[in-house]
């Protein structure tokens, strides 16, 4: 089994919680938002974590692999630069588009699940990989809507993308929960569809339900249903590294500790001392 990030806890590195990350001794990896980093200015806090033995995964949001107009090579070069700086085992991005027709969405927009869209993604990802010194993992995003006229099931679409590009999967379990509510996608079918050796690592983040729509805010606690999904995924086979994404409204440190402890328990790993 090829498992890029070994089992263990990780967290999205943010300056606001850097002291907490420094103190939490059982973390195995951090994920770094690539667009927040400037290669001309070393991030000393992250370098210290690297020296402590944590793996650092650059995570991009602006490559726009789903864009028919082409992806953004500069975003991928930036990921490559960060991977070299931190000796990263891989980088990650999203199955989404963020620009089209000269406009920027400002955030990740779901792609159509059509053959034409799949061809665009395959071409963009394959070209991007030529610029990268390490493998890339592609993340399933949380969607607020489904495009009409889908030709493939969600898992089928993503699996074919991985097969045709050789990319790995960054499986966001909270996004499976979001999509189950927002688009009716079956999270268990998704979990069962992927060979474990294609899953590089796992994301979870918090969200909330509002007027029947689940918002993957990363500002809320992790939903109990997401912990249950992690446990179900663990029941299907050993899990790779699992990390928490929190992007604001940071809770007191004890709450963050407790959330990470609960993730470790749901994954079937020993609770940290």
């Amino acid at each position: 089994m090829r498992r890029m990030i070994p089992p263990g806890l990780g967290i999205g590195w943010r300056p606001e919680i850097a002291p907490f990350i420094d103190r939490r001794s059982d973390l195995r990896f951090v994920e770094l938002l690539a667009e927040n980093e400037d290669l001309r200015r070393p991030n000393h806090a992250v370098e210290r974590l690297r020296e402590r033995g944590l793996q650092v995964i650059p995570h991009g949001v602006s490559a726009s692999f789903g864009s028919v107009d082409g992806y953004r090579p500069d975003s991928v070069r930036h990921l490559a630069g960060l991977a070299r700086r931190y000796g990263s085992p891989l980088v990650s991005e999203h199955v989404a588009f963020v620009r089209a027709g000269g406009r920027e969405a400002g955030h990740l927009i779901p792609v159509e699940r059509t053959r034409a869209q799949l061809d665009v993604l395959v071409e963009n990802v394959n070209r991007a990989q030529e610029l990268l010194p390490v493998p890339i993992a592609l993340e399933n995003i949380a969607a607020l809507f489904d495009w009409p006229g889908a030709e493939l099931e969600p898992a089928e679409f993503l699996l074919e993308l991985l097969q045709r590009t050789g990319a790995l999967l960054l499986l966001d379990i909270a996004n499976l929960h979001a999509n189950a509510i927002n688009t009716g996608a079956d999270p268990l079918a998704f979990l069962r569809a992927f060979p474990r050796d294609r899953v590089a690592y796992l994301h979870v983040g918090g969200g909330h339900l509002e007027n029947g729509i689940y918002h993957d805010s990363h500002l809320d606690p992790v939903d109990p249903a997401v912990f249950a999904l992690i446990a179900k995924a663990a029941g299907l086979g050993p899990l790779p590294g699992l990390m928490l994404e929190r992007d604001g409204d940071y809770p007191p440190e004890l709450e963050l500790q407790s959330e990470l402890d609960r993730l470790a328990m749901a994954a079937g790993w020993a609770k940290p001392a």
Binding site: R41, H107, F145
Partner: protein
């Protein structure tokens, strides 16, 4: 097929920015939810976070921020951003900044080149400031 997909992608982004767009692509209620979520999403977004900075920074520093963005991201991206900004509800001081930016004849003025050069030399990446 790619042309049709290109059209749909562009139409969706236009409809998200302009509720009155004719080619809505998706049902109105779904568009409204997506539009609101985009506007609310405060993390990992560039443009949508700027109004917060605009209020916090004031006119002069906000203007510098835009100039810095032009330096890093290129004029095409900044122009589209300024167009988007001009369609938002703005305070009078903010509107003046946007109007000046819209009236610019081209990508660079001497002052912008100098400011951008200094900022670049100082290692201030556009994203670093914006995020």
């Amino acid at each position: 097929m790619s042309e049709e997909l290109r059209r749909r992608q562009a139409a969706l982004l236009e409809a998200l920015d302009h509720p009155s767009a004719r080619d809505a692509v998706l049902p109105a209620e779904r568009l409204a939810v997506q539009r609101e979520a985009l506007n609310r999403k405060r993390h990992r977004t560039m443009w949508r976070r700027l109004p917060r900075f605009r209020l916090a920074l004031g006119e002069q520093r906000f203007n510098k921020l835009i100039v810095n963005w032009i330096a890093v991201e290129g004029w095409g991206s900044a122009k589209a951003f300024v167009q988007w900004l001009s369609e938002q509800p703005l305070e009078p001081a903010e509107a003046r900044v946007v109007l000046r930016l819209r009236q610019q004849p081209g990508p660079w003025t001497a002052r912008q080149r100098t400011t951008a050069g200094v900022m670049r030399a100082a290692g201030w990446g556009g994203w670093m400031l914006i995020w």
